[in-house]
């Protein structure tokens, strides 16, 4: 199978996406395209493009300013890209690809999980909803920096929680998972933490005050 490498280091949006799309067209069928970029925003834009097109994608941080995004293009998808008319093919002509603005800094998003349920009303439903919410976080293009668990939310990082695997995969992607130590102690869960670290109220207050956006599901 064909492997094409695209060097988009130093390029501002939409150039990395345009270069990658051109490389996909050049495949004329199935193949792999590896794009090298120097910032996380470009990784997000490339990932969004791949998800929209339905290409399998993986991304890897090689160093502080080197990221590799690899897309697998199926025979069918490759042929369909190659056969499309190419009005927007020239470099710089696809501003709609800048889904995340060039030069944007990664937003500091903090999720505060305050209960073992999502919303108020019925707690059985609420438990299904919070489990679905934490899974849906794993599917976002833009991940939070930190997820805080306190009060009843602390049970979700402990033994018996249905969300441990999702939280572990978020942690592996660089999301900081922190549970309130006072809460673990109160619920007698200190020995049962399954994912992430233990924190205190100073750090919780700091994470919340320094956030660009706090999400409380």
């Amino acid at each position: 199978m064909m492997v094409t490498r695209v060097d988009a280091i130093g390029d501002a949006c939409p150039i990395p996406v345009v270069k990658t799309k051109n490389a996909i067209k050049e495949l004329h069928g199935a193949g792999t395209v590896e794009t090298l970029v120097d910032n996380e925003i470009a990784v997000q834009n490339l990932t969004k493009m791949a998800n929209q097109k339905g290409y399998a994608v993986k991304s890897q941080k090689l160093s502080d300013d080197r990221f590799q995004v690899t897309m697998e293009i199926s025979e069918k998808a490759g042929l369909s890209e190659a056969s499309q008319a190419e009005p927007g093919n020239a470099l710089g002509q696809e501003p709609q690809e800048c889904l995340v603005a060039p030069g944007a800094r990664k937003k500091n998003i903090v999720v505060a999980v305050t209960a073992p349920v999502m919303g108020t009303g019925n707690d059985e439903l609420g438990a299904v909803l919070i489990k679905g919410f934490l899974y849906a976080l794993t599917q976002q293009d833009e991940l939070p920096s930190t997820i805080l668990f306190y009060n009843g939310g602390a049970t979700l990082t402990c033994e018996g929680s249905a969300s441990i695997e999702d939280l572990k995969s978020l942690e592996a992607l660089g999301v900081e998972i922190l549970t309130c130590g006072t809460c673990l102690n109160y619920y007698k869960l200190s020995d049962h933490l399954q994912v992430g670290g233990v924190t205190n109220m100073y750090e919780i207050a700091e994470k919340l005050t320094r956030a660009d956006l706090v999400i409380r599901p």
Partner: protein, 80 residues
Amino acid sequence: MRQSKEFLVITFSETSDAMAAEKLFQGLQIPGRIIPIPRQLSAGCGLSWRTEMNRKEEARAQLSKAGIRWQEMAPVTLWA
């Protein structure tokens, strides 16, 4: 590393059917999990079952044996 791949997603029109399928598949040790219906399949709300692509025939046979109604079985590319 973050990696996406193609999964088989089975949707149901009733939440209770999705939960019955979860119980059935877990009992049979068919790998997979309940997830909210992916956006690629429907803008609606509801639950679905996500499993490996090669489990399609087995899942179909077991659902029909257990009398659980499903709506759609479709391949969807998701973060693994």
